[in-house]
């Protein structure tokens, strides 16, 4: 996994493949897209199930509300666009016609995070976790690689709730395998000290999980034992796993490619402040917009690289003492 030649696949590709698997299992699964079938990978579904595909045009508000109407007739609609536009532009349609109406529409937002790269800040959704997790009934998933994304889509299709699935554009190292467990609502430990007790717990979500694992490996080599949890479901939060990690380590670092305000780290902090207060450090974007650049440049610029994660671990350790 830490090899330089580790296989790298865009997370959104897992969406395309997962949707085909979900559609084969359930004939009510339909796909709706807003003029982005290629880059959201919905074309895989469109090619296989042309009569269950609907092209909405560049109209994300309509995308959400039409899907709600289809769900009212028994369909399980997957809607996809860039996260900035869905659930960004169409947030109120999602709230009223999907969440308030309690319709099982699945919203896949691709191109989340600054790692969208050269397109620049307008296209980099770094507020989407905040605006979806605040919505009653919405399940929020943030897979760490293409394989987990595929599992998340298949699992989402089987639920009766609205689901938001956050997808990244850039090629991301494959961390999981077909055998890695995935259950909505369950956090999984992805890295634990070879021996002894971890002194810091890292909670990571999405593509940055790989960086968190790299940081953990380096820290272990340097004599700092940490544990890393993959929080693929941001809502409902696996509170038990978060408490357990906090009680065991006494200090937490959260890692996400999203604004710190309102994101996954906020969700973890809300839980810990109530039940197991320990020092927390947050890796994420600090109240700024993104910009053009390569994904690697942007991750470094906004303080979400391996060195930043290691520094946050050192800092939280000091606060612990």
């Amino acid at each position: 996994m830490f090899d330089k030649d580790v296989e790298q696949v865009p997370i959104r590709k897992g969406f395309g493949e997962g949707l085909v698997v979900a559609a084969e299992a359930d004939m009510n699964v339909v796909g709706l897209c807003a003029d982005l079938t290629e880059s959201t990978q919905m074309y895989l579904f469109k090619e296989k199930f042309p009569t269950r595909f609907l092209e909405i045009g560049i109209a994300e508000q309509n995308l959400a509300a039409v899907a709600s109407g289809m769900a009212a007739m028994g369909k399980v609609p997957f809607i996809t666009s860039y996260a900035m536009f869905s659930p960004g532009r169409n947030w109120e349609q999602i709230r009223t016609t999907i969440a308030y109406n309690y319709r099982p529409v699945k919203i896949a937002g691709s191109h989340a995070g600054v790692s969208v790269g050269p397109d620049g800040g307008t296209h980099q959704a770094i507020e989407d976790i905040a605006i979806t997790r605040v919505m009653p009934r919405m399940v929020v998933l943030s897979p760490c690689d293409a394989i987990e994304a595929r599992k998340a889509i298949v699992a989402a299709a089987k639920t009766t709730t609205p689901v938001y699935i956050r997808l990244a554009r850039d090629k991301t190292p494959i961390i999981t395998s077909d055998q890695t467990p995935f259950t909505i609502g369950k956090a999984e430990v992805y890295f634990a000290p070879k021996e002894g007790k971890a002194v810091v717990g890292i909670v990571a979500t999405g593509a940055l999980l790989h960086k968190a694992l790299s940081a953990a490996q380096e820290l272990e080599n340097e004599g700092v034992a940490v544990k890393v949890v993959n929080l693929a479901t941001i809502k409902p939060l696996d509170e038990q796993a978060i408490w357990t990690l906090a009680q065991e380590t006494g200090a937490i670092v959260t890692v996400e490619e999203h604004q710190i305000a309102g994101g996954m780290g906020s969700a973890v902090a809300e839980c810990l402040a109530q039940h197991a207060p320990v020092p927390v450090e947050f890796i994420g974007v600090r109240d700024q917009f993104g910009q053009s650049g390569t994904p690697a440049e942007l991750i470094e610029h906004y303080g979400m690289g391996v060195s930043h994660i290691k520094a946050a671990v050192e800092k939280v350790l000091l606060r612990k003492r």
Binding site: V30, I56, A59, A65, G69, Q93, T97, Y100, N101
Partner: protein
């Protein structure tokens, strides 16, 4: 076949009773909208009591029913009153409008009243849902489906861009199983529609998007029946009926006044005026 004279008289009586219920509800609730509910009472009466819409109030989840999507949810009193008269729930529930724990939320919420097809209130997204229903039904049953999807829109609501996205999609998809009624009462909260944001030439706009367009007198059952009959007969495109209505129809002192869009009769004089006009 057009409506018989006896049927027209029966519908007129029912529409009057529904207007009485609306005013009773609003007086009791002390908040809510007056103009739209009163002016849509005839259209609602037609849909629920002429046989135009397929439903079973004792089996609201009957799969073969037609669907009615109310987009401008603020005219909920006319929907609730009509549904009570149609037997969906007891009439005495109407007095609970807008009260804590009521099945009759200030704007329709299907969680409280599951017989509703959709929750609504935020304007401009009802038609999209109706379009989604029409497309899903066609996916399942092809062109032979006997279901009709009805969607009721306010005219001021057409300021919302989301509507035009839905209008464009319905035109593209040639949804003959979709019939929209626009409540063309020419008012919205802040004033007359043509002053706030001109809609005319409204029929031409819909026509340009691929719709079959008709106008009708929204208070004349024979004309309403003619328009719905023609809409049902159109098989290559969606239909819109621009129903010319008189805001607050039935209470002459309130009629055509945009000030009555979003308030109920509250002062003793206003209440007396409303009751007198409706012979309550």
């Amino acid at each position: 076949m057009s409506l018989t004279d006896a049927k027209v008289r029966e519908l007129e009586t029912k529409a009057h009773d529904i207007r009485v219920s609306i005013i009773e509800m609003l007086i009791e609730a002390k908040s809510g909208h007056t103009a739209g509910p009163l002016d849509m009472a005839d259209i609602f009466t037609y849909l629920y009591f002429s046989g135009a819409m397929k439903y079973d109030s004792k089996r609201p989840d009957w799969l073969e029913r037609d669907r009615l999507v109310l987009s401008n949810g603020h005219i909920a009193p006319v929907l609730y009153a009509t549904m009570a008269h149609a037997g969906y729930f007891p009439m005495d529930k109407l007095a609970t409008l807008r009260k804590f724990g009521s099945i009759l939320q200030g704007h329709p919420h299907r969680e409280w009243l599951p017989a509703l097809e959709t929750s609504s209130g935020p304007l401009g997204c009802g038609l999209s849902q109706a379009v989604g229903m029409a497309i899903a039904d066609r996916m399942d049953h092809g062109a032979v489906s006997s279901k009709q999807i009805f969607c009721l829109l306010g005219d001021g609501e057409l300021d919302e861009g989301n509507n035009w996205e839905a209008i464009m999609l319905a035109g593209k998809e040639r949804l003959h199983n979709l019939t929209v009624v626009v409540d063309r009462n020419c008012i919205q909260i802040d004033g007359f529609t043509e002053d706030i944001m001109p809609l005319e030439p409204l029929g031409d706009k819909w026509r340009a998007f691929g719709w079959h367009v008709q106008e009708c007198d929204g208070h004349n059952f024979l004309d309403i029946d003619r328009a719905f009959g023609e809409a049902r007969a159109i098989f290559d495109k969606p239909s819109v009926i621009l129903a010319r209505t008189i805001a607050s129809k039935g209470i002459p002192a309130f009629e055509r006044k945009f000030e009555w869009h979003g308030k109920p009769p509250t002062t003793p004089e206003e209440i007396a005026t409303a009751r007198e006009a409706l012979h309550m």
